[in-house]
Subunit: 352 residues, 4 copies
């Protein structure tokens, strides 16, 4: 029996993590431990997420699932082996070294440990950037994208769960770039659009309904934090890519429209075959037939990443469209996918 | 030439006030004075509301309309005669007495001066509730609903602009209740639904897109601040009415569904005639033909209140539906309507 | 092993039925049969509902789940025992008698067989209203609301699955009315609001995005088809109730705000206890603590009906708020709940 | 006094045209003639667009504005000089030649006469493509984009009003391309997103609320009808541009995100100066300060096109963002702008 704990369950990704773990077949006998502020007192999970209330123990009554105050002692006394962190970047920077010291295996959903290159991490301004311990932890971190690093994740003690935008773009581009089919000299354009849950639960001018609804806005031009993941995982130089995120007036889902020029003439069937081959062993990527494009609705509330493309008649201009649910395949779903690999479970268990 | 000033222009009602006043035909020669924090420095209006930017002076450049720091001296030096307050309740409680002392005529959009009965005001917990000056100012306040108090408003120095929900419900019920057609012993049910702008511009858990979108929630049961306006303007006892507001996943607009039992059997044509007669001189109320109901879309972005009804075959059960734009007829539009009356302009000038 | 079939899988309720049945634990070894037009040819389920595509057989490739042309022979050759009908009313009126003749047990999601009283059925204008066979089938139909008719449903050959609005209102009112606590002479007001999926998949002026979005509209005043279910299941006379549905600008979910006057003074804790007692054995109704109200988001994408209430200080005016997902507890979820009972499975199997 | 007529007033662009013309200062003494099907009978304008109902003649009563059956005789008897066509492409192909024969000056909002090159028109499959009369009319058509063709429009008898997407993209790119600053060999990427009103009023699977809401989808890849306008007005070859439209879950507004590589290194201030200079005489284009980007909300319900840009630190990668209201600057507003020029009125009269 595998004992898990979730830190940061009160956020959106945390809620989805709780939902997935509570229904995970291989965790049926155990109860995930939900953790909150160290100085707090236990509160019912249903008080924070009424969605998760049920009549069998997760309601408001006695025995209901609770969010308990964090302490390393609590984790040890409950026999926790796997820790999910759905916490802010700085907190993950602080806690992951301690968690590893305590012998825990960690899936970190923040951006704290995703980037190998210091230059790429600069945008986060981590307070312990210069620390030798942090540097050492970084060498243990595996970028938690199973479709690219499946074998390393199985053995990892620290899976750095990818960013939501980065997941949608890297999965869409990797097959073409790895095959050398993209004319990188012409540049790659990534126009991505995300629902509002991607901006987090803290109320702000940006997440106010009146700003987000009936609107669309581009933001973070040439400066979004996920850019470094694109550079590292796709082996690109900064000048070869433009990535523009937009805020969509919907709760959840990302659609990335990606523009490349191919180095050689290709048929649509070649491109489709390349994608199908690349993802043949990946149960959570759905490749669409050539010329058919995914939409946000298809993957919302699922753990899939959907990929489709359209190749112009000239055989050169190629538009790839990639969709996923930013809270699932872009966060909690991918975290459980990594957890499954780390436990030796089936990769998509509890996710389909 | 009439010189106006607007305090609180950075909010939603303030933005609509600015828009209406900037385009008001009788104010063409003057510029409204837009006011902000006393300790601030002038900032371009377009920095706060890019919607209001134009190429003729309200943009970012020199000469652009600005929000200037508030002071009574500034108002006097600019010759301001009319002050619009789109400010929080407490601020209006404090400033209105001072403004009247300075000889200004005031249209206050807050709830500060709407209620004559102290019991009804209790819910606001005004800090100066016991002050004699406040009591005196209260006696001067005219409830700023032109369809009910047109003549008094013309002469008023202080128009207390009605609440948005209250406007939609009072206009819908007044004709029937004034005619004695409603069986008040059976009670009046007011089920009202408002867009999110009614909750104000401050970011909060309630106004977060993730809470408001794809959702509907009832709130403020038996305790909403607008209840007192219903009681006073409709001469009802608390036990005779239930008023439940709901938060709609739309930016703007209110629809109130109101349920009454008629004392006597009536034909739909009787009811329609009653409404048409009551609003015959009211340019900003649109009465719909019997059996046709208004929808939020019809009055959104207009200064109208739309009213329709449906009478059951039994001639007793009557459902009245009333719609308006909470920022316009429910706030800024009605404020300008009051202003027009106070100035002797045509009631609907600049509003159609 | 239980073999099921779904007719009408291409609609919204049909899609949810497919999703639920494909993941139902007790159906793991069997595949539901998805049925379409008799004159059609098989088409991939994923072509109609890309949401349901996966990499293990429900995609576009060979072996993928398909929608097959309907025939009674096909049903028999596959050993189908349970037929779900997510079809228009008239079709269910025609097919249910035939299905029963073929020895099938039927869960009908349409309005065809819900109403025992001919007067209440009149609004449907069924073409075979006068037929003796239809009259006989009607006597076999059990109103498929487990919380009210659990034992009869277990043995039923025909479960007439309730309307979505009716489910939300009947569950909210039944405990109070059955206990005799409601002053029916003062009337019951049901102000209900539904997401657009309730209007069906056929494109129309009403379901056009431009009509539904940023809008709210009341419709079907004193004439909605679900009214008869309220009268029959709550033992009310038409004059005792007003039911007004509204179209909400959201995809899914119903919130009903229900207004009653109690016959006697009660404490909130009495009312809560009454509800908890009534639903003690009902795994898919969540009763909220007194004074806490459900919201559409909490039950959307779940199979629960959530019920809360607020009692005024006078102990008489009571507002009950009830929420459910119109496609799940209001349609497909309740259908599977009935199916579970008919099969002797646990009532909430595959639904939590 | 100028007499106008609008054909196709029942659609979304037609509604906005009616609104603009009814409030146009220079048309105050005249009433636009609203036209519908030749075989119809007059119906109140308010029956089709309750939004436009008022208490001064446009309601349901006698004297209310009506939609009258079309005939050339009616136009002549009313002294119509200007005809707005908000009609399908084929109808405009048929009627414009006749209208010109009747001595009318025409502003056509359809795609019928926008394209000079037959190859670019092919996508429309006009039934009278080969007709000599059509060819002759085409030579008279002026592309109705005042910012590019102001002087020719003044004298035109036929203004071919631009497509909504095309307006947003051409205005954003023209200054840079005309100045020779864009490296066309690297290609131009136009990722455009439009609200649902752009898809028209006819109910369809695409415009169903359930498809559009909570969704985003790309469509018309490498085949959208507005592509020809981009090629002709920007002097581009098909291989030099990719244009991908998307359907946004909002009623109105377009945001185009446009990606170019500059031929030479530039400072943001250079680029801003270029835009400001290009649009110095254009009252309906708002250029944003360098690094500040427009959002859909700012221009929705206005007649402006808003343009901003962000230049990367490398001085080469430039992202331009352009926003407009597809029904106003993208349709009816630009039509009235053209009308103003054709009449010798101020270009922005009735539009600010």
């Amino acid at each position: 029996m595998v004992q898990t704990a979730v830190m940061g369950v009160s956020g959106y990704a945390g809620m989805e993590l709780a939902r997935l773990l509570l229904r995970h077949p291989s965790l049926a006998g155990s109860r995930p431990l939900f953790l909150g502020r160290a100085e707090g007192i236990p509160e019912p999970l249903a008080a924070v997420h009424p969605q998760l209330m049920d009549n069998n123990g997760t309601g408001f009554g006695p025995g209901a699932l609770a969010i308990e105050p964090f302490s390393w002692e609590l984790l040890q006394s409950r026999g926790v082996k796997f820790l999910f962190l759905a916490t802010p970047h700085e907190q993950s920077r602080e806690w992951v070294p301690e968690a590893l010291d305590h012998g825990l295996r960690v899936i970190d959903l923040s951006g704290a440990w995703r980037l190998a290159e210091r230059a790429n991490r600069a945008v986060y301004k981590f307070s312990n950037e210069g620390s030798p311990i942090a540097a050492q932890v970084q060498t243990k971190a595996i970028y938690g994208m199973p479709e690219l690093h499946r074998d390393e994740i199985r053995k990892a003690d620290l899976a750095a769960n990818p960013g939501c935008y980065a997941t949608s773009i890297i999965l869409a581009l990797k097959p073409l770039i790895a095959a050398g089919w993209v004319d990188l000299d012409r540049g790659v354009v990534c126009d991505a659009k995300s629902g509002v849950s991607g901006a987090g639960k803290a109320p702000s001018a940006k997440t106010h309904f009146m700003h987000a609804a009936d609107n669309l806005s581009a933001y973070g031009l040439f400066s979004h934090r996920h850019t470094g993941e694109l550079l590292e995982q796709l082996d690109l130089a900064p000048e070869q890519i433009v990535f523009t995120p937009h805020l969509l007036p919907i709760p959840r889902g990302i659609l990335s429209t990606i523009y490349v020029w191919l180095t050689d003439l290709h048929q649509p069937s070649d491109v489709e075959a390349l994608y199908r081959s690349f993802f043949a062993e990946s149960p959570l990527v759905r490749v669409f037939p050539a010329g058919q494009l995914p939409q946000i609705q298809y993957s919302a509330n699922t753990n899939y990443c959907d990929i489709g493309f359209h190749l112009a008649d000239d055989g050169r201009r190629c538009v790839i469209v990639s969709c996923l649910d930013n809270l699932l395949k872009g966060a909690a779903g991918q975290a459980v996918q990594n957890f499954n690999l780390m436990c030796g479970f089936k990769e998509a268990e509890g996710l389909i």
